[in-house]
Assembly symmetry: C2
Homo-oligomer: 360 residues x 2
DNA sequence: GCCGCGGCGGCAACGGGTTGCCATGTATTG
DNA sequence: CAATACATGGCAACCCGTTGCCGCCGCGGC
């Protein structure tokens, strides 16, 4: 039991330990921060005394001189989006291993909120991981000038980046749909401020070219269930047999919306999502989707950040690219065989315009 | 443009500002922290100079003397569980309003990890919200002795608590099932370390008493999809027509598991969950569940914490209780009529789709 | 004219570690 | 045995604000 009971809630300081161990405060400090700089027996004694007194080094005081807080910030676009859960896990794991604490910031899909939060936190952390930032490139560069930054899901010159191989993912999805007989794919766009959104569309454009599949885009819609349902409405106006959605939540929303309007998935329309969130596996039909290595994204970005913080001038020019894979479930199927028909059977909306226009 | 360009990455300090504004550093400090203590013109001038030089007060240095970091910790059991997303939102909203930054800690359902993280973070934050802590009561009290703490989803003497009215929620669920003709409810238990788990079971016991419904418990299982699927297996061994699961994820797992074994929900078995996560609405059949005011939980707990931090000796003895409501969807239905039989029809293992099975 | 008081600003002592530099003592080397 | 090297530990300055206390000044009251 401690023979010196801390009288009031006062914290134990190195001075207390120093007094008790009969050494100078600096020696106590070194015993913890640079053990090699002090005799091992002395260090051991100090550690014992510290233990007995319940000494805990004060991270703030330490930070004041070292300007290292052992904290990093992890900024995500929307904590409500399950995609980020695994990313956060990966990041926190690595951070904890390196004795870092993670400050999680939820930007709520808002450029403004994100900037404000980053601003407020910046001076307190040793580095920042921006996962799916909604800030402008220039704003990011601004931040990167003041603190080590790693950007996730966005490629940006002069700032270290980690991205997934979306281009390949889209390609695989297009191939898959092509094999099922689809010759036309509609991309349902997500937030314009989202970098991957642009990449996915452009990749689809490219893949369409090579595979001789026609593509088009509708949107943007909010990257949520509700957004997907709205997209479903628009899809009805301009029908398609194959849809690639910006993310799984939208894809699920689309399926629901279509179902409500009497359209069968995958019977009439095939739908592919992006991210492979947990829900993709539990909805009916199971969602075919492009899976990203979420955990790896978080851990890779964080690992990179830590090495930057720990001195390495970091930054390997090219962004780090992580592989993706296509998870095939039940939301995609062979194209509804309706030979001789230009449009899927379920289009009963409005009489086909065009040639009809010439009729009296 | 600033006429004094900071030469190296050096931060601007009050000393720089003092020099430039021709006052003492203490005056600069006061100009920001206690404006009333300094002449308003002087203060204005100082503020101008500070602005021009790009001065930003260093929160760490400030914290060192005031021992207020303007940060709070929010500890959640499992970031992968969507329930917490809204809670986090509520907490962060309130925290941000009060100029506090939130440090999110994911305990990964582990007592050990949780303690370690709290330990590590405690000295850096002004207070802590423990949402669904997996720590022991005594461990929590220990922490509460050192920092203001508010506990969410657990009642604990001597520590401020915010809980939901689970008892009422269970009661409502039992009534609902009773009205549908069920005279036996099986509770599928979640983590034993979870306080609500105990409450829910006891409440069901009580409700069963009053409503003359027989109840029994199986488990514990992990509060996840996989856990629910395992529970489904066990349910087959000892059949039931009505099931109340610890949470929605388990409930969904149970439904999947049962389906796989040819059991129809709600035709053969009615399932009720807890939490009303987003997925509850998108699965088929839609999940009947007890909804908690998640956002309100987070915000109420945090508001309480902030008032504690801000001096009020806080703590109103009794825990604060938030209301819940039963959301009825399609996973519950009238009991499968099989008069004169001790066990439901599906016990034969092989799917026998009764007439009711395909009704809307 | 003297005293008291309030407004304002400065001095200096913190808070709790960290670290450059020096002093001492011992081990190594020629 | 002298000269040099190294291992240890202490001193004191420093990081950047905050705050108790005091002094100065001008003003109003008696």
């Amino acid at each position: 039991m401690p023979d010196h009971i801390r009288p009031p809630g006062q914290r134990v300081t190195i001075y207390d330990v120093a007094l008790e161990a009969d050494v100078s405060p600096s020696t106590v400090s070194r015993a913890f921060s640079r053990p090699s700089r002090v005799n091992s027996e002395t260090a051991e004694r100090i550690r014992q005394v510290a233990e007995r007194l319940g000494y805990r080094t004060n991270p703030l005081a330490r930070a004041l001189t070292t300007s290292r807080t052992q904290m990093i910030a992890l900024v995500i676009a929307d904590i409500t989006n399950p995609v980020y859960a695994e990313i956060v896990r990966g990041a926190q794991e690595v951070a904890a291993d390196g004795e870092y604490t993670t400050v999680l910031i939820d930007a709520q899909e808002s450029d403004r909120l994100e900037r404000a939060a980053v601003e407020r936190t910046m001076s307190t952390v040793d580095g920042i991981v921006l996962a799916s930032s909604r800030m402008s490139d220039s704003a990011i560069r601004m931040v990167a000038k003041q603190r080590p930054v790693v950007v996730l899901n966005r490629a940006l010159a002069d700032v270290p980046c980690v991205v997934t191989d979306d281009s390949r993912g889209v390609r695989r999805a297009a191939e898959h749909l092509g094999e099922l007989g689809h010759d036309h794919i509609t991309y349902v766009a997500g937030p314009q401020a989202s970098w991957p959104n642009g990449v996915r569309w452009r990749s689809l454009l490219e893949a369409g070219m090579e595979l001789e599949i026609k593509v088009r885009q509708i949107g943007p819609f909010s990257p949520t269930l509700a957004g997907g349902e709205r997209a479903a409405q628009e899809l009805c106006a301009r029908p398609a047999t194959a849809v690639l959605a910006f993310n799984d939540q939208m894809a699920i929303g689309i399926i629901r919306g279509l179902n409500r309007m009497g359209v069968n998935v995958p019977g009439d329309v095939s739908v592919v999502g992006f991210d492979n969130i947990l829900a993709a596996d539990i909805v009916t039909p199971g969602l075919t989707t492009v899976a990203a290595p979420l955990y790896a994204e978080g851990s890779a970005a964080t690992r990179h950040l830590l090495t930057m913080i720990e001195g390495a001038r970091g930054h390997t020019g090219r962004p780090m690219v992580l592989p993706v894979r296509l998870v095939v479930r039940d939301s995609t199927a062979a194209r509804n065989p309706s030979p001789g028909r230009a449009r899927p059977a379920w289009v009963r909306q409005r009489p086909v315009p065009g040639p009809a226009a010439h009729l009296p």
